[in-house]
């Protein structure tokens, strides 16, 4: 069975693994023990102790925080219950004018702000830009991902999660 060391996974995740080695990993059979090594790498990267249950973004994790499961930024800021849309608890910058769009698109044709805006969802604590939506004005904010966390741990990983005491 294919397997890689935690150090290799850490370099792969951080984008520092040399390309020929990355390319070999891409072409090889996948390593079935990846998930828990990956989580261990990320756990060492964050500065807090709550166990990571599932990464859901580049710096965004579902973790066990006491009796709760919450979506957390890498800086430690909690966006609340993981079943709710974390974006609703974020800070936002909306680019809906030519001037603000031009800051990101300095030399191309721009979208029409009457037809489309850019929404940047930001951690209110550390300022990390977690997600960008381009949408028509008035389009509801999308809830990107609702993982079947219990099903994943139970049926695919064979390690059922402790039942949650609190409802969501």
């Amino acid at each position: 069975m294919t397997s890689y060391s935690k150090e290799v996974i850490a370099d792969l995740v951080s984008g520092t693994l040399p390309w020929p080695q990355t390319r070999r990993i891409m072409s090889a059979y996948k390593d079935d023990d990846r998930f828990f090594k990956y989580v261990a790498v990320l756990q060492e990267r964050v500065g807090w102790k709550d166990p990571i249950l599932l990464p859901v973004g580049d710096h965004l994790f579902i973790c066990q925080s006491g009796d709760e499961r919450v979506t957390k930024c890498e800086c430690g800021h909690s966006f609340g219950d993981y079943r709710k849309n974390w974006k609703l608890k974020a800070a936002i910058i909306v680019r809906d004018t030519e001037e603000s769009l031009r800051e990101i698109y300095p030399n191309s044709d721009l979208p029409d702000p009457d037809w489309m805006e850019i929404r940047e969802f930001i951690c209110p604590q550390c300022g990390t830009l977690h997600e960008v939506e381009s949408a028509a004005p008035g389009y509801p904010i999308v809830h990107d991902f609702e993982p079947d966390l219990e099903g994943f741990y139970r049926d695919w990983l064979g390690r059922p999660l402790e039942p949650l005491n609190k409802g969501g």
Partner: protein
Amino acid sequence: MLDKPASALRIRERLLESERLMEETGCYDGITELKLRNQDPLKFETLHTKLRAYCVSAREMARRISASPGVREVGEMVVAIYTSEGDAIALSNGIMVHVHTMSRFIKWMIRNGYEENPQIRDGDIFANNDAFIGTVQVPDVMDVVPIFHSGKLVGWAGAVCHELEAGGITPGGDVALAQERFTEGLFVCAEKVGENNELRRDYVIRCERNLRMPIYWVLDEKAKVASCIDMRESVKALIDEIGLDYWMQVSKEFIEEGRRAQLARTRQLTVPGIYRGHTFYGHVTKGKPGYQPLGDPDWLYNIPIEMEITTDGKIVMDFEGTQPWGYHSMNCTPAGMDGGMFVTLTQHMNFEGLVNDGAWMATELKLPHGTWTNPDNEMVATATSWALLLPAYGVFQRLLSRSFIARGFVEEAFVGQVNSPMIEMGGTSQYGTPFGMAHFECAAAGSGALAIKDGLDTAYVGWNPESDMGNIEIWEQNMPMLYIGRSIVPNSGGAGKYRGGCSFLSTWLVSKTDHLRLVTSEHSSRVFDNGGLCGGYPAPTCQKHRAVRHSNIFELAENGAPLAHHTGTNPYRSELEVRLEGEHVTMEGPYITAPHKTGDVFTHSYNGGGGYGDVLERDPVKTAWDVENGFLTKEAAEGIFGIVLDEDEEGFPVANLDATKRHRAEMRAKRLARAKPVSEWIAKERERVKTSDFAPEVKKMYARAIKLSARFARDFSTFWDVDAKSTLGVE
């Protein structure tokens, strides 16, 4: 007529039986156990590898028969081998979207009584380019031949080429001006076009008399037939070797194994749950010549996708909430939607091992009736389906990628494909003859970023993973335009920790013709039709066209003065305007105008891909390299990415790491100061929503989505705490 079907049943009854068995057992053709694989796995794998080799070899041979630079240079072709019921067993590389659309074509003939009339016999050749039977668009012409062994139908060999000219209302194949089926070009609707291994002369004459450039289509037909015959004979020889009974069983086990492999791959690479995303597409044609007043000249489409991955490993994609079909060329049939799903799966999940229709069977598409994904009117045009298909499956790639990131397979995460606008042309060639063609350098756009590296520059499109722009010299042989520039477009990839791949722009001089019609398609106006991921920005994809009529370029050349080779980086004054005199044209939306003449200059730009991750985390050293090589401008590096660049003694950019750190800290602080809580923004926006204070096209988009989809209406109402119907004035 079939003398002796492979089973005791006729092929139509066999197809129905196969579908019933799948329904009852959940396994392809009722194969609940892979007996032959278990008996001798090595023989099993070797046989499948042989079949794949037959396909790859037949396609390469056919590419050398074709006269079309689309097929020869760019590889716009795929071939596959099917079971007698029409399910794909093995396929070549190339435009794999058509492996499943061809399956639909074969099944359509079987269901519609082709055994009786026009009969299915050894040596017959059937062709189709009708998307409601099984293809994506008119230029995708497919040919299949039955494979008989011992007097029985035992399979099919099929091939598809994308034709460069389809005889529609505008030249080329992706006929932008088609608003109904009747203007898309020459249709071949599941016809028997050849017998005894030879194309019928009357069919060839029909092609010759209804196409602007029949040499492409006709020679492609010969290339396809040659590849089909090649595969057919190889399969027959294989059956001689392994025996007919073994073939009939093993061909089906291959597909069942493909289905199981897809489910296992999903369980291995992803995380179960619900994933959501969306993109948009804008179309602007008001006042343009040729458009009949059938639908709205300007419109906006939303393309929301909800993807569910079940704990069984099944992927279900639901397009509920999207827009109705329209009088334009961008509608898609379920066959095209299937094809889009198939080509995406083959790139992202089935990159090794068995790939065939089994993978498609482990997925499900929910295509709401009456929408552009599943029109309830078979008269609609689908000539430029890719305009909406590519953005839609770009969303699919981002949804899949989020699951790869969650699972830890970051090296597979990919921000997705973008539309790569097409330019097509016709009129009088540089040889003085009538001509028409699609220019296929669009097959080399920039890709979305990966979660561990930048996207591919000028080397990717979703429909053909073997992306190639073709050689300039070959294109110049086929059109009355000469390249005066083919340049990377700086900042054309979406910004992010990893940027999207950059696109390129071509600049041409119209040469040796007094009648050149240029038409473009598949570019979104006024809205981005792609997206970023995990903080990355979309790539700039709302592009206008620029041309100069009656330019003074020959005079400049004679005087040795500088020419314009690209549009430059000033969005308010292009290099064409700086360098060339003449009538300057800037056009939004499809480029449909009066014919061009010798001395005119035209530019056409392709698209880059979306970015990944927070821009303020981009590697400064890599960025210096980007600036040095023209992928980013120095201003963008500093203004967007927060990277301060100095110059070394030779003038090359060098990252100033300390200054970058300080500058980024300032940018982050400014970002935080500028941002406000989402709850505050929602409260303010709600007032706008309540009064429906939107552009007419936006308002209409909401009204249509609300009317077609109870779920969209409910979600809109819940999110904004309004009554969607009364707010948007929906009856």
